[in-house]
Symmetry: C2
Subunit: 370 residues, 2 copies
Amino acid sequence: MDTSPRPQADQLPATAALRHLRPEIRAMRGYTPGEQVRDCIKLNTNECPWGPSPAVAAALRTISDESMRLYPNPLAQGLRTAAAARFDVQPSQVLVGNGSDDCLTILYRAFLGAGSRVACPWPTYGLYETLATLQGVELVQVDYLQRGGTWELPSILARQAARMVVIANPNNPSSTLVDVTSLRQLAYELDGILVVDEAYIDFAATDASMLPYLDRHPNLVVLRTFSKSYSLAGARLGLLFAHPEVVTQLEKVKDSYNVNAISQCLGEVALQDRDYHRSLVMRILAERAVLEQACRGFGWSFPPASANFVLCEVGERAGDLYRALKARRILVRWWDTPQLRTKLRISVGQPQWNAAFIAAVAELLPGLGA
Amino acid sequence: MDTSPRPQADQLPATAALRHLRPEIRAMRGYTPGEQVRDCIKLNTNECPWGPSPAVAAALRTISDESMRLYPNPLAQGLRTAAAARFDVQPSQVLVGNGSDDCLTILYRAFLGAGSRVACPWPTYGLYETLATLQGVELVQVDYLQRGGTWELPSILARQAARMVVIANPNNPSSTLVDVTSLRQLAYELDGILVVDEAYIDFAATDASMLPYLDRHPNLVVLRTFSKSYSLAGARLGLLFAHPEVVTQLEKVKDSYNVNAISQCLGEVALQDRDYHRSLVMRILAERAVLEQACRGFGWSFPPASANFVLCEVGERAGDLYRALKARRILVRWWDTPQLRTKLRISVGQPQWNAAFIAAVAELLPGLGA
């Protein structure tokens, strides 16, 4: 029997609890939610500018009380089967995640133990770094902007002694694309797992996806999301494609009921309305061309955009322009980092949003100096 | 430039990929989804036998295209504020999870690094063990059934040199309750984090919750779920309550957008319909009394049930009875483990489900021998 006296004071300092945190967690920067500004034109988070398929909204009205009352299907079998049919793979090659962020978390936890490394091009999607910190492993960042966007990246990445390489393709924020041949070469050369995050692939050239090569590379994992071309960022749905034996192992790592029943249903319907999906993508590509033309007109350079956004080299006044646009309730993305501070990332919006952005820049630029 | 030759054959064996898995993951047993049997009486997974509030179903019909198109609020501010009001805490003391499973994952990842231990009573919710394996840490299991259910457990748990102690209260599968005084003593004595998982607390005596003592114990974390008394297992919603500084640290560990926009909305409405919630709980408690009386009539012993299920000592024929009931399409829970093989766990169902279970047992028992 423990006879240690109970402390006199009820109120202990919070530090007593905080010192039990893993040191990696304490050292991390606090979470900064994305800018939530009301009643503004949002060209800052790469969401789809139009809503999801009307069939999705209709499906939402058919959700039963039973779907809410009971635990969801743990493997999202309906959506898994629909995804397999849509992307021409076997259901056993599909894992459904609570957003592709969830799929990434599962991959880091499954493959990266103490002392292992993960590598990726940099700058890229910030979560790749956050997850490395959480997992307590080293992230090797390969700078591709310094290299003028020349994509010798795959062979560099293959030589990092990394257990896992993660490539967003098209990449964010650069909107650039690595060709399939280079990625397949990397899959061959890499003594590790190659994760190709194809969140934006529907906006790239056809034949850019690695999915058709899934059967050829057991170390290949391909990710897709419903947050962009399917316009379901609010529903949190991602897909992971891999060798069936890899999927079986990853199922051990995911939360048993990681995807809610409602989103499972919506995702299935969204995949089936292929006409709507095609029309969404076509509208966004047409608007991207308009946006690129205007940016060229401003004298900005940028790599050919393969995603639903453009990363423009604006120069020293980029930060000022970002702030001036925000004051007019137009949000674009600007990062105050050495690599990105002269650039702006602009998401493709609806025609009137893009027009408002273009008009505002045309008005603001002369006042901002060279 | 790497000049290693490309392999001759396209098709590599899957083992090439699998050897990159963390050894803990490879050694884990494969995931076994819960029994999904159609058209049966489900008294096996402790879901709520009635559906959610009609206000929840109504809210589902108001979800806009914009809610689906845009990323959800990362901290679920609406639901967080509603939960704070409902449970009489500050919003800064609340973290919303994708089910309380997600909250547990966040806690394990935040507090348990290499070499640390987590302790819990055993048998209990199996996820506590799975998460320890995933995190690569030792789980100390304190057997309480051997001790005849006497709850000297808290003082035993305090002496395990564990960085975190997790107690389901009421416990699953035993349906037993640890009193608040003992838990507070444990919180004082423990040099670590005390997690009290109150998934079933609404079915226990009033004043059983640790929530009123949150301000007194900075090392206390309380979990709640919407899967039981709110009948929203399909929506995946859990709540974590802790000291504001602890919540801030845990926010770094969670997925940025861990809870989808639709479930956030449904949870907020569910919390507000307090009359419906109260009536659901009352109906379940009334049915639990009927079930307990019948089980006593069968000569089964069980600890007083504090949750929406009863764990009965059935004897050697427990497994046979489980199988015979299943053949009649009535599912209860039976585990083929040394600790539990003579017991059955029966969830409280709707009156006609419970009646069917009672009638079937009355018919089957004589044929199964002593």
